[in-house]
Each structure stands twice: as structure tokens, then as C-alpha cells.
Symmetry: none
Subunit: 248 residues, 2 copies
């Protein structure tokens, strides 16, 4: 029995002595992979080519990533992490629900279509093509990243409901599918037609009908008016509370 600290270490761990050197290698390989996958597609790029562009041998690549799929998964993870980080920051900064959705959507499409729409390529590949069973899907990437990312949409809608900005009987699952599915199709359209200049207005055109359909109550059009200020008011009151406390 070794004195390894952690009980369960599934990572291949070729790296232990010189962390900075190892991190540099890993970063080099990842960068090459992102570039080449974006330019030519996942299946069109060989591990030999990725290794060559990173300035290492093919064997070394497989020391750092247990498989070509693992390399892809790692890229996916970093993109999801970025998506989630950006989203959390947007929720922190922006309190108006409608603008929250707008900014979340814009962030999603922008990240999705970066690097020659690498994210779109990878996520589709991973979800629909290369997975045989769906066990792997419930592992690292999806249960942890995709779900926690999709969660920001749910939070935004629920908060808007609590503030009275949106109807109570919104079908959250359906709206989530429309939101992410619509954005994915929009991203594909923007990418194929190279029309990123219109990105903001196109995203707005997609979000507005969703918002409208969640917002409309039977006849009460006055509620949204007040509630537009709810978020900011709540925030000001919270700050005031803290000022009160510290003034004591």
C-alpha cells in the first residue's frame, strides 16, 4: 500500500515532480488541439498532428491525456467552466431579469461560436456521435457542468417569478429547451453565414418572444412596470441594511 494521500485517484498522473513544466506541456497540447479541432474538426485531426504542432511526440500526448476523447472532454470542461463563471458573474452584476437573460444568452452564443464554433462541434460530437451508452455522459462533464450551467437559466426565471415579473405557471423545462436550443440554432446560423456583426440584435430577437410569453398574464400589464425596479430596489435595500449594520 502506497502512502498516496487521496483514496480515489482515477487520473493517469504522469506529472508530479516539476509541476510548472508539466503544466506548460499540457497547455501546449491543449492549445494545439483547440486550434486544430476548430479548423478541421475532431475526426479529421490525428493525435500525431496535434502532438507534432505542440512540439512533443505522440506518446507524450497520451501521457498527459489518456485518450483523444479525454483530450476533447478536457477542452469541453474548460469551456463549460468559463460559461458558468461568466454566467455567475452576470447574475452577480445584473439584477434586471430581462437584461440578465439577454446577457446570459449573448455570453452563451459568443463562447459557443468562438474558435470556429469549436464548442458546437465538440458538444455535438460528444453527446450524439461518440458516446455509445450514456453512462459516460452522466459523469464528469454533464452532471457537473452542463446541469450546473443550465441552472443559471432556472435561477434567473425563478427569481423573476418571485419578483412578480413573470407568470407563476411558466413551464420551466420547455422554456429551457427553447432558450438553449434556440441559441444553438442561432449560433449555427451566425457561424454559417458569418454574420457575427448582428449578434446582439439577433440574440435580442430570440430572447424577446421568450420573455414576452413568460411575462404576459391575463390582463395585468401593469405588474411588469413596477417589477422592473424590483431587483434594483431589493439590492439597494440590501446595501442599505449593511450600511445600517456597520454604522452601528
Amino acid at each position: 500500500m502506497s502512502a498516496a494521500s487521496s483514496i480515489n485517484v482515477p487520473i493517469k498522473v504522469p506529472i508530479s515532480k516539476n509541476p510548472s513544466r508539466a503544466q506548460q506541456r499540457e497547455a501546449d497540447i491543449l492549445l494545439s488541439a483547440v486550434q486544430l479541432f476548430g479548423e478541421e474538426g475532431f475526426h479529421a485531426v490525428s493525435t500525431r498532428k496535434i502532438a507534432a504542432q505542440a512540439g512533443v511526440s505522440e506518446g507524450t500526448l497520451f501521457n498527459y491525456f489518456s485518450s483523444k476523447n479525454a483530450l476533447m472532454r478536457r477542452i469541453l470542461e474548460s469551456i463549460y467552466t468559463e460559461l458558468t463563471d461568466n454566467a455567475t458573474e452576470i447574475l452577480r452584476q445584473e439584477f434586471a431579469s430581462h437584461r440578465r437573460l439577454q446577457r446570459l444568452a449573448l455570453n452563451h452564443v459568443k463562447v459557443m461560436t468562438r474558435d470556429n464554433a469549436l464548442f458546437m462541434r465538440l458538444i455535438q460530437s460528444y453527446l450524439n456521435v461518440d458516446l455509445r451508452g450514456y453512462d459516460e455522459l452522466r459523469d464528469s462533464v454533464f452532471d457537473k457542468l452542463n446541469l450546473s450551467y443550465a441552472w443559471v437559466f432556472d435561477v434567473t426565471v425563478r427569481e423573476a417569478q418571485e419578483r412578480g415579473e413573470l407568470r407563476q405557471d411558466v413551464n420551466l423545462s420547455a422554456m429551457r429547451d427553447l432558450f438553449f436550443g434556440g441559441l444553438e440554432y442561432l449560433g449555427r446560423t451566425l457561424f454559417l453565414h458569418d454574420s457575427f456583426a448582428e449578434i446582439e440584435s439577433r440574440v435580442a430577437s430570440l430572447i424577446d418572444p421568450l420573455w414576452l410569453s413568460m411575462q404576459i398574464a391575463d390582463g395585468a400589464t401593469t405588474i411588469p412596470l413596477e417589477s422592473a425596479f424590483e431587483g434594483t430596489l431589493a439590492r439597494l435595500e440590501a446595501v442599505a441594511d449593511r450600511l445600517d449594520d456597520s454604522a452601528r
Copy 2:
């Protein structure tokens, strides 16, 4: 110069003498491919395996289909043809616009998720993973099939507008992205959770908000109203930011 009748025949043409026998072979290969692609995924199934299951040698498979991609493309084409045929029939039978959309959506999701969601696998693979350039995309499958299929959505909305059922200023491109993107995500959800029993209600939950947002005429007043206060809101946010910073 041969006396071949047609000027431009890009097809590989191994079949000429006995059409019925050849068609049977082709059908056998296609059936095997559909089954295996659906069960294990496109890249996980070898041409050897497809040929073996169809009861022919690998060479014969390549006599009938010039490449594995061509085989996939052929499957895609048949699915698109079926989708379009069904859709045209729905437009012919059903005249109520809302029910038209509902039935178009239901047909889309049902076909999409059949054969272990084969269609989802193939379309994603073809669009995002295996194509390097996007020239091939503008060829057979997409310009002819996808576009002509997407067209049934546009027709349905436009007819509803002419009848005065829907607003005139609907953003058709955005609604199309929401429709097909939302249905794709719904299909994925239904497939992954094996919840096809709910398919009709889930499709309805997806279509209803779209319909509502296209239908509401005077609802458009709420969003401009809110934006009229955006300047004020922005100032309040700025104050909140300053208070936030100094309270830290």
C-alpha cells in the same frame, strides 16, 4: 466515347441488369446501417460490421455506396424526405394554424427520436463534426432538403399572418431557430430520460409559448415601456455599485 445516355452521371452505378435484386441489396445494407448506427453510433460501427449484418462482403457495400459518409448521407436524405412528405401532408389536411404547428412539431420530434435518435446522431455528426469546409453542406442534403423542410414552418406562420391570426412583425428567423432548436433539445431530453409517453404534452408546452408570443398584439407595449425606464434603472444600478464598493 461511350454511348452513355446521361451527360453527367456522378453515381457509381454498379447496378443495371437486375434492378430488383440490386434494390434488395441496397435496402439490406441501409437497414443494417440504420440499426447499427442507431445502437452504437456512427463512428463506433465499422463498414465490415454493416456489410456482415447485411449478408454481403465489405467490397459490395462500397459498390453500392461510394463511402461510409455517402451511406450516412443517404439515410439522412430518406429521413428528410419522410419529414418533408409528412409535413406537406399535415399542411394539406390541417388548416387551423395552431394545430398545424403542433402537428408539425410532433412529427418532427417523433421522426427525430426514432431508431435510438438516429437522426439526431447523424445530423449532428454530419453538420458539426465530419465536415471540414462547409461546401459539402450546401450540396445535396442541406440546400435541397433541410431548407425545403424548414420552409414548411415559414409557410405555416405566413399563412397564419395572412389570416390575421398572428402579428405582422414576427421575426421569422428567430422563431424558426426557437422552433427547431427547441424541438431538438426537447427530443434529446425525451430520449435521454426515456419519457416518450409525455411527448404530446411536452411538444404542446413548447409550441404554446411560441404561439403566444407571435399572437399577442398589444403585448408589445410592455417591453418598450420597460425600456423607457432603462436610463433611470442604469443610474440606480450605478448608485448601487458605488454603495456596494464603499460598503466593502
